[in-house]
C-alpha cells in the first residue's frame, strides 16, 4: 500500500475537516510539522482544536493558523511566545486548556495505547486538579487525567522509509512520537524518504504502524533563540 503523497495538501485530502481535534508534534519551533501547518492554512479548515505543547510564534508554526482564525481551542503547556495568541485568548475568541507538559505528553501516549485515563501526582493541590477525580494510592493523592484520542495527528520526522518507519533527529523528536500515536490518522512530513531496508530495524524510533501518510519537503527549521558561546582565544 502506498503511503507516500506528493504534497502536504494532497496528504490532507479526505482527512482534514472543520472542528477536528488535531495532535501536533514539536517543542517550541523545534520539530514542528511546518509544511502540514502551512497546508492546513491554505485548506482553510476551521474551528480546529490543537493538542500541541506550544502555539508557535506569530508568523510560524500554529501561529499562522491563529492569524487566520482557524483555531478554536488549544490544549498546551506553554504559550508565552505568541502575542496574537494572547490577544485572541484575552478577548475570548480562543479557548485554552493548560496541561502540565508531562501530563500532555502522557495523555497523548495513553490515547495511542488505548488507555482512556491514568492517575498522576502532577498538579495535585493546584488549579489543574479542580474538578478532577482524586484517588489515593499508598497514602498519596493522585488525580485522574484522560487520554487524548485525536482525529488527526500531524508530525515531523527526519527520515521515513516508504512503509512509514520513522527516525527523528536530536531534540526534534520531543512530542512527535506521542502525537503520532494518538490520532486516528497520522500524517508525517520528513526531510528524506528512503527505500525500505535502508534504515536499521533496531534504530527505528516509531514503527510505521502508526503512520498512514508521508510527505517529503524542504523545511525552514527556524531557530527561536539562537544562543552561542565565545570561542576561547587560541
Amino acid at each position: 500500500m502506498n503511503k507516500i503523497y506528493g504534497s502536504a495538501a494532497e496528504a490532507l485530502e479526505g482527512v482534514l475537516s472543520d472542528g477536528m481535534l488535531i495532535a501536533a508534534g514539536g517543542f517550541g519551533l523545534c520539530g514542528i510539522p511546518e509544511l502540514l501547518l502551512q497546508a492546513i492554512k491554505e485548506n482553510g479548515a476551521k474551528d480546529l482544536t490543537f493538542a500541541s505543547n506550544n502555539a508557535g510564534v506569530d508568523d510560524f508554526g500554529i501561529g499562522i493558523l491563529l492569524q487566520t482564525r482557524q483555531v478554536k481551542k488549544m490544549i498546551s503547556s506553554y504559550v508565552g511566545e505568541n502575542a496574537e495568541f494572547m490577544r485572541q485568548y484575552l478577548s475570548g475568541e480562543l479557548e485554552l486548556e493548560f496541561n502540565p507538559q508531562g501530563t500532555l505528553a502522557e495523555r497523548m501516549r495513553a490515547g495511542g495505547a488505548g488507555i482512556p485515563g491514568f492517575y498522576t501526582k502532577t498538579g495535585v493541590g493546584t488549579q489543574i486538579a479542580e474538578g478532577k477525580e482524586v484517588k489515593q494510592f499508598n497514602g498519596e493523592d493522585y488525580i485522574l487525567e484522560e487520554g487524548i484520542f485525536a482525529d488527526l495527528s500531524i508530525v515531523k520526522a527526519w527520515k521515513a522509509d516508504d512503509t512509514g518507519n520513522l527516525v527523528f533527529r536530536k531534540t526534534a523528536r520531543n512530542f512527535n512520537p506521542p502525537a503520532a500515536m494518538c490520532g486516528k490518522v497520522c500524517i508525517v512530513e520528513v526531510e528524506e524518504i528512503v527505500p525500505r531496508g535502508s534504515l536499521d530495524p533496531d534504530h527505528i524510533h516509531l514503527p510505521g504502524i502508526y503512520v498512514h501518510r508521508i510527505i517529503q519537503g524542504e523545511h525552514e527549521k527556524r531557530i527561536e533563540k539562537v544562543t552561542t558561546r565565545k570561542r576561547e582565544e587560541a
Binding site: F27, G28, L29, C30, G31, N53, S76, S77, Y78, V79, G80, E81, M86, F98, P100, Q101, G102, T103, L104, A105, E106, M108, R109, T120, K121, T122, G123, V124, G125, T126, Q127, I128, W158, F168, R169, K170, T171, A172, R173, N174, F175, N176, P177, P178, H205, K221, R222, I223, E224, K225, V226, T227, T228, R229, R231
Partner: protein, 207 residues
Amino acid sequence: MPWDRDQMAARAAEELEDGMYVNLGIGIPTLVANYVGDKDITLQSENGMLGMGPFPFEGEEDPDLINAGKQTITELSRTAYFDSAMSFGMIRGGKIAAAILGAMEVAENGDLANWMIPGKLVKGMGGAMDLVAGVRKVIVVMDHQNKAGESKLLKECTLPLTGKGVVDRIITNLGVLDVVEGGLKIVECADGVTEDELRAATDATIV
C-alpha cells in the same frame, strides 16, 4: 554582604553529588552548571535529552538541538535523546535526583508558586508542575525578597500553586533553609548575613 546570582548558583551546585541526574530551570538555576567542577553530573532537558552540553559556537547552531528554554545547545559523548512521554516518565517516575528551579513564592509547608500571577499574562506552567511533583529533591533558588522588599518565604502562598508540599531546600541571597516539620529551618546564612537579619527578612515560621 548577601550572595549575588553567581554565589547563589555556586552554593546550589554544592547540593549536587557525583553521579546525579539533574534538571536545571531557567535563570539562576541555569548558572549552576558553571559550578559543578569535576563532579560527574548529567543534565536533563525535559524536551527530551540527557547529557546537555554547553551553548554552541557561533555558526554551529543546530535547529534540531535546543534546551527546554528553546536555546540552542550542544550534545556530549554521553548524550541520549528520547521523546517527551519518556522524558516526563523519568521525571514523574522519580528517576531524576534533583531539580533546581526559581520561584515567586515558597510557603513554610513546602508549597511552591512559580507559574502564574492572576491578572497578568499567563504563559503556562510548561514542565514545572511535573518536575516538582516527580523529582526526588526540589531545590528552589531565588531572591529572599521581591522588588518591593517583601519576603518570598511565606506562611502560605498567595499565588496559584505549582505544587503542594514539594520544596525540600531553599537557597536565597541571604542563606539556605530547609522545609521541616512546623516551618523552615536555617541551614546556613550567606557570608556577612546574621541569623537575626535572615529571620527579620522572612515571613515564614522559622523553627
